[in-house]
Symmetry: C2
Subunit: 401 residues, 2 copies
């Protein structure tokens, strides 16, 4: 097999250690993760475009300029967002503590946070947690790290792949968290990817950014984008493979593998959406442009009317056309066709007036694919999402500050 699925998450690649520990921010469970590379890494990252960026995001954006890093500290239970000057001091201090504990410059430590906003980090707990984590780092710690970054996630999200480049085994591993924006104030999408490939900062950044666009940026639970969303990738070169150069077949294979990791993790987030009972892929095909395809797919995937109909297993195709029709996509109504799974519902703008039970059958499955063929171009986009249930309202209404 060209791309093999393996275990281990962020500790699958050579030279990476990780661990998740409990420092006491959350009411229970692991709440601090540390990821560490034995050698200096090329670093790449993609951050939230929200105007209100949390302190750790602002710090990491600064860090990213050097293109180098060795470690990431992540806490759950507190987002360190909307925390002003003290929040920046605390993010900086977290990196310093990790640097001291690991014997590396603070400038080589990324930080990430997820949880309640508007509350300062409990720095004594953070300090104790980071020091404990530095002592417990392990080559099999990928799973406990995945547990420690969870908030309302119901399960850890882990992926890893192995490929061969010039006779050397090259690995990419990742962990992520995210389930909507939530309790008690908001949560976040965080993802950490490690690889032992040899690749420079710019090339890694390019691969990461392209793959984030079709995975994490093509994913929506409720349309809300957090102040903390971050995807960070570290490459330490310890596989011993030759340097990956853009345009080479080796880079192409690496890039495709990076895509598999990102897609698998993004799908796990959609499947674990707050209160979700269905996983939904909205595919918009034959659009005039990729931007059009993406805009139509996103508007459908974010429509509360579409999402509640899917929860109700109602083949309510009118709501889907209607959502597409208010997006910015160029649409010619008479060219549009729509399918649920393999069942064609609308063809060239005219409903096929199927037996409602036939139309409804694909809606009864756990996984639903909605395909909207715009019939006017050659560009496609897929957005991953989930339905909107009573539990979504419950989860988001009942957690008071």
């Amino acid at each position: 097999m060209e791309i093999a699925t393996i275990n281990g998450g962020v500790t699958a690649p050579k030279g990476f250690k990780a661990v998740g520990v409990r420092c006491g921010i959350k009411k229970q469970g692991l709440d601090l993760a540390l990821i560490y590379s034995e050698f200096e890494c090329s670093a790449a990252a993609v951050f939230t475009t929200n105007v209100f960026k949390a302190a750790p995001v602002l710090l990491d954006m600064e860090r990213l300029r050097t293109g180098k890093a060795r470690a990431v500290v992540v806490n759950s239970g507190n987002a360190n967002a909307c925390t002003g000057t003290q929040g920046m001091i605390n993010a900086q201090r977290t990196a310093e503590i990790a640097g001291e504990a690991l014997g590396i410059p603070a400038e080589q430590v990324f930080v990430a946070s997820t949880g309640i906003i508007g509350v300062q980090l409990p720095m004594e707990k953070i300090e104790a947690g980071v020091r404990q984590a530095a002592l417990q780092l392990s080559e099999t710690g990928g799973e406990s790290a995945a547990l420690a970054i969870m908030t309302t996630d119901t399960k850890p999200k882990i992926a890893a792949r192995e490929i061969e480049i010039g006779g050397r085994a090259v690995r990419i591993g990742g962990i992520c968290k995210g389930a909507g924006m939530i309790c008690p104030n908001m949560a976040t999408m965080l993802c950490f990817i490690t690889t032992d490939a040899s690749i420079d900062h710019h090339t890694l950044q390019k691969s990461l950014a392209q793959n984030v666009e079709i995975s994490f940026n093509s994913l929506t639970v409720d349309g809300d984008m957090s102040t903390n969303d971050s995807v960070i990738a570290l490459a330490n070169g310890m596989s011993g493979c030759t340097q990956l150069l853009e345009g080479s077949p080796e880079y192409a294979l690496f890039d495709r593998t990076m895509g598999e990791i990102c897609l698998e993790l993004a799908r796990e987030i959609a499947m674990d959406g707050e209160g979700a009972t269905k996983y939904v892929e909205v595919r918009v095909t034959n659009a005039a442009s990729y931007q059009d395809a993406k805009a139509a797919a996103m508007t459908i995937a974010n429509s509360p009317l579409v999402k509640t109909a899917i929860f109700g297993e109602d083949p309510n195709w009118g709501r889907i056309l209607c959502a597409a029709g208010r997006s910015s996509a160029k649409i010619v109504p008479s060219k549009v066709s729509l399918s649920f799974g393999d069942v064609r519902i609308v063809e060239n703008g005219e409903p096929l007036n199927l037996d409602p039970e036939v139309a409804r059958k694909p809606m009864l499955e756990r996984n639903l694919v909605i395909t909207l063929d715009l019939g006017i171009g050659e560009e496609n986009a897929t957005v991953m999402t989930c339905d909107f249930s009573y539990d979504y309202v419950k989860i988001n209404a009942e957690y008071h500050t």
Copy 2:
């Protein structure tokens, strides 16, 4: 009083008659309304911008070119949307039947529909209903017309005002319906306004369009825009007032009164939002542009996380900043202040760390005003909305086709 509130809705102005009858499209209740003017009217209208426009909308857009009309036929229970060529024939035929019954040209009849989509209008029922309605038109029929256009609305929505222009009493009346997009496929926002003012088509269109922008277009229940949304205004001049000319003080008073009608009706829609337990006004102030203020207010008002927090009476200010931060509005975080009612929560980007019970107090009321002061300009916008409850999901998930 300069602008007096009166009763009667669309039959408050002189020379207008209306009625609501039952023709049998809905399972129960009135489902066909007819509005008629004794004299030819200047007509104005604003329609949905959705790419998928229902047949009656396409017909009315054609009608509007002449700027003249005498009557409007409205049915509830069937939207005549996504009905192809037959749908256009049926919309046209509905206008012809009304023209015959009223003794006026079909070209002077607007039509509007709301209800299920993808199903052809039952033309026998429509024909019988229109003929019956034409016989029952009455100068006190505004209320029954308001009842006949309802779908999932829990109450009719009616407004009327009287002003004095040159010693003549001039009246404006309106009815509307809308509560979200719904059962069993989708509903719609429809509004019909009548006036006995003397005003030409272009001036009426200008007043209507401006006032729709700050009322019906500043209203969101779930962010979905239907295929049928229409606001239609008719002015028959029967008050005997002088012709209203743009720029005159008389026009200014008329325009302000039109604004009151539109705002009152739009507020009633928000208050009657599907499953709503709270009425919410999101005011964004001191933005760099009106577009920025509106974009930020709309993004906040459409955020499922904000709407579920309001349902949960949770003063979750982080979700509000976060929603504003992902809108297209220009925002400088350190300039932003946020209040719930009169309670200031965030000032110049820093949370004031209030006692949670103090912050929560305004959330316990039936009506909530959220004010986000961007602090960088002089433009303001207000968006009306409601919260997101279990019942919203129930209403929209449980009605199968």
